[in-house]
Symmetry: D2
Subunit: 152 residues, 4 copies
Amino acid sequence: MIWPDSRHYPIELRLPVLWGHMDAMGHVNNTVYFRFFESARVEYMAQMGLFARQGEDEVVPILASTRCDYKVPLVYPDEVVVGARTVKVGRTSFTQEYAIWSTAKNALAAQGEGIIVCIETKSGKPIAVPDDVRAAIERVDKSALTVALDRA
Amino acid sequence: MIWPDSRHYPIELRLPVLWGHMDAMGHVNNTVYFRFFESARVEYMAQMGLFARQGEDEVVPILASTRCDYKVPLVYPDEVVVGARTVKVGRTSFTQEYAIWSTAKNALAAQGEGIIVCIETKSGKPIAVPDDVRAAIERVDKSALTVALDRA
Amino acid sequence: MIWPDSRHYPIELRLPVLWGHMDAMGHVNNTVYFRFFESARVEYMAQMGLFARQGEDEVVPILASTRCDYKVPLVYPDEVVVGARTVKVGRTSFTQEYAIWSTAKNALAAQGEGIIVCIETKSGKPIAVPDDVRAAIERVDKSALTVALDRA
Amino acid sequence: MIWPDSRHYPIELRLPVLWGHMDAMGHVNNTVYFRFFESARVEYMAQMGLFARQGEDEVVPILASTRCDYKVPLVYPDEVVVGARTVKVGRTSFTQEYAIWSTAKNALAAQGEGIIVCIETKSGKPIAVPDDVRAAIERVDKSALTVALDRA
């Protein structure tokens, strides 16, 4: 697996392509790619320790926007690697990039993006990304960097 | 729409068949029928007033078993009518029958069953079907009967 | 239903929000919005007469990219209106805009986009949008305009 | 993993439980279990070599009925093992048993069944299970038996 531009994803999830993921065109349906992105995003948040905070918490991350660019059609059988990394941290939101690698085709199958907004539970309004959330993002993406350097 | 054996369903839900419901065989995927059954079951429970009770409640209805017999393949475009009725109330559970009518094919597309067990929230164990749940089932299925008689 | 900027969609699909569309957050899952978009896109293509052409055809429309901006969370029960219109026709692709209206909340729930590329079946490469496809898009979107004027 | 009654499944598929598999109750939705069964069934058919036959073939296997008994609720994160075996070969159909093992809970999460009918493509009617299909079933389930004995 060689991600384009020697980029690195701190989260890499191996997921099976199932026969039932295909639609009447005989390709994995366009909605399934977003389930793959979601799974990597949730894993990223788990690594951030965001779930441990939940419940007691006054800030909740909400998916505000997401996109997928389809490169190569996926078909069963295959196993994909779904990568996730944070590419930007703004005032009230952060932006993640997702990528799907087809091991059967040895090719980048899709690339996407997700914008996650920090919402204050009480008001339902966007709120500045809390310091500990910023720190958690840096930790997850940095540890990835470390791993990447170790591999070099 | 003529249900077999002039049977009657107190809940009849009209749902569109979507293109995305089809799998690589070009038919509505087998799992989608259970989504249709679920939708009728939830509507039945809403009519019972079960959701109003929830939260404050010590008894929760859980799907313990479900089955689908596929009669005629569904394809897009179509609109189905999903029927639900309770066919048996036991000590700790009740049994529902579901049916899916294809308006495009004017035929019974599938028939199924669901067994719903009353679980005590605290212990997680089956508990006798509460009297008000029995009464609610009778009311939903009876009002259906009334409607059926009105129509005759 | 009042679409923003008094825009008009030639395709407006009424779809039920199902209980099973909700995820563990208690909101309609982010992937379901793309199923809604897909359903409007397929209806748009059906109106274009694209399916009649299929099989005998040397050109096939492929979804190359799609995006969704989430505005207001959807919850069951609700019924959405999904709008689709073509906003741009390029050399080898055309761009559609999608919108989801929540009738329960009387609000724009989401807005999105889809880029559809014309692929030559034989080579698998992008090909110039055929004249009859251009004409079909104009017809679908124009007839909508007519309807809109009639309503005024 | 200890299947009940020391039974053995020739097909054992490891599948991740995804966050998006959960519904508003916070458990894996009832329809997802049928996607798991389907995935094991398709893998079983692949082992039978049924897909190689397809296209040129006058007999196609169709799912006529399926059932699931839910034992223990699944939640994310988890990894399940989905087992499939043929328990009966009739005149025009064969019956498979499915089981889902939760590795997180170290427990049998669900058990189910599928009845697969052999349909003659031309007439659309059930046809006697062809000899090579019977042989393929025996081969898949027997090789399993062999493996089971080797492990003993």
